[in-house]
């Protein structure tokens, strides 16, 4: 089911949290709402399921306007961040609750609960109480309960935030598998960029109640429209060089060094402020555009090693290299930037 949010505005008292947001989620896709804490992700999600009333704008499921339809009638499944299982009911009753509310027959309920429980691999836990389950199992129960009445839309509010690293990895692919298997339209709220990139078809990055970019994970990573988006995606994060446009090149701040600006980038007027964004994988010993500096930080990440290199003007670039190169803290190095991978941003943060 396609979801269209048109000119959505939400205020709490006199603070406007979301202003004039428009977003279209395609049928059957999984979309991530990604952004820093407090940017309005949950608010958007709660508006879609009807917990929050919209102060302005329209919401459409398919071609149907549901702006004024009550939560109960929207047929949206929600998985809350703390799972919100009903503690006094066992797993079976938890999952069966939406069906019982709809007064389905006993046999029907039994069949559907069994089926969905098998889908999320909790078939043998049906008689336990939520308190007797691990975090990951509770998570699956919550997912099963949201899915059992075959909703048109599935909303997930930071479903993995409470899990440990290993389980998170496992549930990531699990949720994606179930979403693809059921073909349901899903919205995933998260502030973890890895989660968004690995699970979703498209990502909407939000900042301060606005959507700043909406694209596929790959496109968003390689072709960000602003320095905010570039800084938000990628781990270890992108490094920025400050400077200004000078004579067709990029003059680093507090330095005599001028870097050539790659073709395809429109250079602003002479003297205008500019930033170069360079991802750690594109600052390597054998790239062309050399810069001299000193290693100021080394972090071993197992398979790879992360270096911070302080340039002569005090700016810091990051480089990620496979294990065994043997660079040490304090080493003078001359490493290069992959010229065609430079992301250049203008004074307002926009991509040039």
């Amino acid at each position: 089911m396609r979801i269209s949010i048109e000119n959505f505005t939400k205020t709490f008292g006199d603070t406007t949290v979301i202003k004039d947001m428009s977003l279209e989620i395609r049928s059957g896709e999984m979309l991530a709402l990604l952004g820093p804490s407090g940017c309005g992700k949950s608010t958007t999600l709660f508006a879609i399921c009807g917990i929050h009333r919209m102060n302005g704008g329209r919401l459409l499921f398919g071609d149907k306007d549901v702006t004024r339809v009550s939560s109960q009638k929207r047929n949206v499944g929600v998985v809350f961040q703390n799972y919100a299982l009903y503690p006094h009911m066992n797993v079976f009753d938890n999952i069966a609750f939406p069906l019982k509310v709809r007064k389905e027959t006993r046999a029907e309920i039994d069949r559907k609960v069994q089926e969905i429980a098998n889908l999320v691999h909790i078939g043998e836990l049906l008689h336990r109480k939520p308190a007797q389950l691990s975090g990951g199992q509770q998570q699956r129960v919550a997912l099963a309960r949201a899915l059992v009445r075959e909703p048109d839309i599935l909303l997930l509010d930071e479903p993995l935030a409470n899990l440990d690293a290993k389980l998170r990895l496992e549930m990531r692919s699990e949720i994606r598998r179930i979403q693809q298997q059921t073909g349901i339209t899903a919205v995933l709220v998260t502030h973890d960029q890895v989660e968004a990139m690995s699970m979703c078809d498209r990502i909407a990055i939000m900042d301060n109640g606005k959507i700043v970019q909406l694209s596929s994970p790959k496109e968003m990573y390689e072709d960000p429209t602003s320095d905010f988006v570039a800084g938000f995606l990628g781990n270890p994060p992108i490094a920025f060089l400050e400077g200004k446009a000078a004579g067709g090149g990029f003059r680093l701040a507090n330095s005599e060094i001028t870097l050539p600006v790659p073709s395809g980038i429109t250079i602003p007027d002479h003297g205008a402020a500019m930033r170069f964004g360079i991802r750690p994988e594109f600052f390597q010993p054998n790239n062309g555009l050399k810069l001299n500096g000193k290693i100021s930080f080394v972090e071993t990440q197992g398979r790879e090693e992360l270096y911070d290199v302080m340039l002569e003007n005090g700016a810091v670039l990051r480089s990620i290299q496979s294990q065994g190169a043997g660079h040490k803290l304090g080493d003078e190095v001359s490493w290069g930037i992959a010229e065609d991978r430079i992301l250049a941003f203008g004074p307002d943060g926009r991509r040039l």
Binding site: C49, I51, S71, Q72, K73, V76, G77, V78, F80, Q81, N82, A84, L85, Y86, P87, H88, F97, P98, V101, R102, R145, A146, R149
Partner: protein, 276 residues
Amino acid sequence: MQSNFRNWPVLLVLFVFSAPLLIMLTFLLVDAFTTKVPGTMIPNGLTFHHFRFLWTDLDDGSWGIWGVTLNTFNFALFTSLSVSAISLTAGYALSRLAFPARGFFLGSLIVLHAFPTVTLIIAIFLILQLLGLYNTLIGVIVVKAALELPFGIWVMKGFYDTVPWEIEMAGVQDGASRFTVWWQLVLPQVQPGLMAILIFSFLSGWSEFILPMVLAPGTEAQVLSTYLATMLLDGGTQADFNLFKAVGLFYALPVIIIYLVFQNKLMNIYGGGTKG
């Protein structure tokens, strides 16, 4: 056990101070079931004579013990039921709904809870007379319930506050009406609080003395506490103290039994809704 022995000085002090109570209680028990030669302390025979009020009419103008007991039971039960029903709904409203002057209501609850109710008794007396409820059991029930409410509402609000907001939202998303959500999802989780308030206000009603005495002094609405009081007053110096003790025992018995049976549930009030 080891540490208990080292605490013996404390235990001794506690024992000395509570000894008068224990001795009185012992005599209450002993005297209720025995006969004595006047002027002596040692009983000389076993008897159920003092409990004759259970099967004979004492001919003192009152209803007889069973009528009074029924009154007391009704008084305690209906007080308890109305306090629980109102606390259950009002506590939910105060915990969950954003209605006008919510802060004012919360504040007044605490003030009312701490208010010495005896000071209100003249005003209440006048109001009941105006309403024609003076000297009726219903009148006393209404007043008693009203005075117990602040405490009940406050406790229930505390229990509701511990139920996560998302559980209700999940219920609504699952297609249930707000009422179904409250009834099937929220209520089971505040049930320990409900039990505690039911028992607590029942006991409080059972032992209430001032309100029935002032607001329903007639024999129609007499309860056990006022019945006991009149026994003393009417008897004057000739009051049958053994009979008095027997009635007292009869009056205290349900309280003791309820406490013994439900003590764990009552402790819940202080646990604030956490389940053990």
